[in-house]
């Protein structure tokens, strides 16, 4: 595992990001229950090692295009957590000024091209970002996140082909959390995702998404290939999904045992902790300190979001065009 050779600062950063996602999502879930979040959310808890394992390889000029379950990708890509929380609360201080909400968080300066309410919406967009990198010869890469459900969408298949035809520096990160809404991927996703990618002529790897280091290693290889002009790669990242599909989903289609076992056996944070402490790379104290600072940061984000102003009514009409005429 090359990831284990990461410098201490990077390990701490990885942990901090994963922990931030977990706490952010648990907190959004709790705030949803208060009724004060106006819209709906799809929580990323359980999948943290995927977003962070992937994004830790990226700079601000590398781009990612995300999904409806985008909070984790945003945080891993460096979006401002205060701005995200305010956005989810629909406030003027939100990262999209309250116009987008949970499903449309974006921060172009960070290379985060947007969560996306359309399943399969992101892969073509990521191809476009990769094309920009290629035309401008920047060595930047792009990542298309999609799910085990979204991988079936025609746009994803088209993008695999286009990426290979144009030899784009793009990585398809297929996060397989076992479900598209209430439907199991064992029902809806025929065949084998890696073999599909191979059918489109690109290398593919199946990765244990509970293991940050496994994701990080696989992504490292893919990113290097992309930066060197070697074209696209698909990563099939297998993860749990801790919550129901959306906040409010009773999640009765999974048995209680299955859900308990998932939370017990598939916790990427616990796994990370065990690995780095057993290898004496970080101490429990190091990690506890991160936990504390993350909790404080999320508390602060919620307080700020609650206190923030609502968007001015005039903003309804702005931002439709840069200039209309």
């Amino acid at each position: 595992m090359q990831g284990l050779q990461l410098p201490r600062e990077r390990l701490l950063e990885a942990y901090r990001l994963m922990r931030t996602i977990r706490v952010f999502e648990d907190r959004v879930s709790a705030e949803m229950d208060t009724g004060d979040i106006p819209g709906n959310t799809h929580l990323y808890a359980g999948q943290e090692a995927s977003a962070v394992g992937v994004c830790l390889h990226l700079t601000d000029t590398d781009r990612i295009a995300s999904t409806h379950r985008g909070h984790g990708h945003c945080i891993a890509k460096g979006c401002d957590v205060d701005g995200m929380m305010a956005e989810i609360f629909g406030k003027a201080t939100g990262i999209c000024r309250g116009k987008g909400g949970s499903m449309h968080i974006a921060d172009l300066g960070r290379g985060m091209l947007g969560a996306n309410g359309i399943v399969g919406g992101s892969p073509p967009i990521a191809c476009g970002a990769a094309l920009t990198a290629k035309v401008n010869r920047t060595r930047d890469v792009a990542v298309a996140f999609t799910g085990d459900g979204g991988v079936n969408q025609g746009t994803t298949a088209e993008s695999l082909n286009l990426a290979r035809v144009w030899m784009l520096p793009v990585i398809f990160a297929v996060e397989d959390n076992g479900f598209g809404e209430a439907t199991a991927s064992s029902f809806a996703t025929a065949g084998d995702i890696c073999r599909r990618a191979e059918g489109y002529g690109m290398p593919a790897r199946k990765v244990d998404g509970v293991d940050f280091f496994a994701v990080h290693d696989a992504m490292g290889e893919a990113v290097e290939r992309a930066r060197e002009g070697g074209g696209p790669t698909l990563l099939h990242i297998v993860t749990p999904r801790y919550y129901g599909h959306f906040s409010g989903d009773a999640d009765t289609y999974r048995s209680a045992e299955e859900k308990a076992a998932m939370r017990r056996d598939q916790d990427c944070l616990a796994r990370f902790r065990t690995r780095v402490t057993q290898a004496s790379l970080l101490t429990p104290d190091d990690l506890d300190a991160v936990d504390r600072s993350v909790s404080a940061a999320i508390d602060g984000a919620v307080l700020a979001a609650r206190a923030a102003d609502r968007p001015a009514l005039e903003t309804l009409l702005t931002d439709v065009y840069v200039r209309y005429a």
């Binding site: 116009k99 499903m103 359309i118 209430a182 809806a188 009765t252 289609y253 999974r254 299955e258 903003t315």
Partner: protein, 338 residues
């Protein structure tokens, strides 16, 4: 008559028709919910619970969960319709039409014409539309003007539980492709709905309220808003007719034009779709051409602005028409003097 929700009315329509005709099948994402999973089957009964219970009654052969591939399953529904089934496909949000529009407008809608009248395509596409649930730009659109624009499609927008059931049964029995648009906010609306099967015909507008000072034409959720506005205006002594076309294609031009005349040529059209090339413009243009001599004031359209749907609650409220905006528009047309 028993009181039932719009959701339940639709559910009953599906139960009736599936029971009556073995060719009727239901197709869509999570319309049962739980396929392949370890827990409850039929856990969702559709994202909005409309298809709940069909699995138990009719089994997985006729209640077909799908992968998230709208083009494939909407196209398959069209192909099945052309070959003998009568599918009811569900597109969870009308906003998703963009990933499957070809199969709707170039395939299903045109089979009959292109093939010289040889095909029938008894296909119903149920879908949801509308703002008001803080679902933002990609889950709140109306978009039915796009379907109305396409020759070969019929377009249905029920505004209440009674119509929902009768129009859905009519749609399933119809031999042409029908786009059936359910407003998400109306699912919990209740109203009187007979237990048995009945149909509400297409192209027959509903006079929801009778007046003679002004005509308010409204569709879907806007009908309720128009009624509220009319009640408010009645207190001011302005009596409005509220007319619900119920289907936009076919459109009941006859009743619309008659009502323009009966309401002294003063018309407000309320619609939730975007204003440009939208439903309000379409109906206004028809009136302006065919009832020109009766018009006594400019037709005022109450629609959202030409913007995507915003997320923040205040903005979303400002985006949508509401009873106050409607009442203001009516006052404007009623007081117009040339």
């Amino acid at each position: 008559m028993p009181k039932k929700s719009y959701r339940q009315a639709l559910n009953e329509a599906l139960h009736h028709e599936m029971g009556r005709d073995p060719r009727v099948v239901v197709i869509g994402e999570d319309i049962t919910g739980g396929a392949g999973a370890s827990g409850e089957q039929d856990a969702w009964g559709g994202a909005f619970g409309v298809t709940k219970g069909l699995l138990g009654a009719f089994g997985r052969e006729r209640v077909l969960d799908t992968p998230i591939t709208e083009s494939a399953f909407v196209g398959a529904a069209a192909g099945a319709a052309m070959t003998g089934l009568r599918p009811v496909a569900e597109i969870m949000f009308v906003d998703f039409l963009g990933v499957c529009f070809d199969q709707i407008f170039n395939q299903a809608a045109k089979f009959r014409y292109m093939f010289g009248g040889k095909a029938i395509t008894p296909l119903v596409i149920r879908t949801t539309y509308g703002a008001g649930t803080r679902s933002a730009s990609q889950h709140s659109q109306a978009l039915y003007p796009i379907f109305t624009h396409i020759p070969g499609l019929k377009v249905v927008i029920p505004s209440n539980p009674y119509d929902a059931k009768g129009l859905l049964i009519q749609a399933i029995r119809d031999d042409d492709p029908v786009i059936f648009l359910e407003n998400k906010v109306l699912y919990d609306m209740t109203g009187e709905v007979p237990d048995g099967a009945y149909t509400v015909p297409f192209g027959a507008a509903n006079i929801v309220r009778d007046g003679e000072d002004a005509l308010i034409i409204a569709l879907g959720r806007m009908v309720g808003f128009a009624e509220k506005a009319a009640a408010e205006l009645a207190r001011e002594g302005i009596e409005c007719t509220v007319l619900d076309p119920r289907t936009t294609s076919p459109l009941d031009e006859e009743t619309i034009l008659e009502m323009v005349e009966e309401n002294k040529g003063r018309v407000v059209i309320v619609d939730e779709s975007s204003p440009r090339c939208g439903m309000a413009a379409d109906i206004a243009a028809i009136i302006a051409e065919k009832a020109f001599a009766h018009l006594k004031a400019p037709i005022v359209k109450v629609t959202p602005p030409h913007t995507p749907v915003p997320y923040a609650p205040d903005l979303e409220r400002a985006y949508l028409p509401d009873p106050d905006k409607i009442a203001a528009a009516v006052r404007q047309v009623v007081s117009y003097k040339d």
